[in-house]
Amino acid sequence: MMNRMLIVIVAGMLVTSVSAQQKPAQGGASSVRRDADGHPDLSGNWTYAIDLAPAVLKKSADGKVTTTVIDQSARHRAVENIPGARPWTKTPSYKPELQAKVADLAAHESKVDRVFYCGRPGVPRIGSPRRIIQLPGELIFLYEEISGDVYRIIPTDGRKHHVDANPSFYGDAVGHWEGDTLVVETTNFVDETWFGEDGYFHSDAMRVIERFWRVGKNLAYQVTVDDPKVLTAPWTSFAHLITPSDRPLEESPICREDDGHRLQNLDHHLQR
């Protein structure tokens, strides 16, 4: 090792995520802050939920080398034994006649996935919010999203779905509390999005259930997708354990994907 070369591992978030995996049950819903109605308060900034490159940044200046790694555990790392999590399966169950289509879309993701070309991911592909503002009768979800920063308003005052709303990428959401779990049901989607990057297309009948609950200082998040037109049964994905974030929200720079014409093969990778 070179003399005077100082290597610093900046991995606070990594350490946080590892600790969370080892003992996810620490704390518990009983210890969390609650709102005036007695519900757990989900408010706050939460870890960015989009995959970030696993690349390591080595920064050298004034004889010091700093190595920084990225934690993306909130996105793709299934944390087992999250209290309150529902049983999950790795893949949705498509109708037999549609399975070849899913496989073909997945194989050609870099050509046909609108999200690749800066399209809106929709719900649930956008993931968990970067910020939650919990108010009496409603919650505000704010997202940092490269296709354009997104907000969602989730009424929790007993309102029903809008009957005259137009279909949209982020749908029409209503929420309610089941014990200490916030349950958000969203319907009325356009059929242009996928609900997962592996070619998981859906119809306009898709219904998405997102569940949010506190596990100590962390936020647990789990999604169930139902679409009787394409699936043989509702699909529940693994639960995410999302750590609090002290990073303020920032406007997402405009998205311009101009590599499409340069692609020489179909290599792609998990994103969301």
Partner: protein, 135 residues
Amino acid sequence: MAKVSVASLALAGLLFTGTLSAHHSPSAVFDMTKPFVLKGTLTKVDWVNPHINIFIDAAGADGSAEAWKFESNPPSWFRHVGMGRADFAKFIGQTVTAGGMRARDGSHYGYMRKFTFPDGSSIELDNGGGGEAKP
């Protein structure tokens, strides 16, 4: 200040194998087996999604000016490692050494690997090999 931890590095390798930034793999556009280095004037920094772009004017083999473009990770990635546009833009108009992997289509386009700036500082992205050729 943390001490070097081999275990941490190994763990990082395990956790981060298999996924990459943005959506296409670099190997879909760039030949990851062909590193190259050039020296030129940093002319522009586009802080855009899904990849930031750094523009460099360099002298070609015959001495004529060549406009090069380097792609790297998304702005959010740089934000998470504590870097912003200004960390590149402050060197606009100055000579930098840029290393990367060249686009397979042969154009003056590279995948950023290591930049060395005129003040002697440098940044280097190490994808560790595992993330560069998915799936």
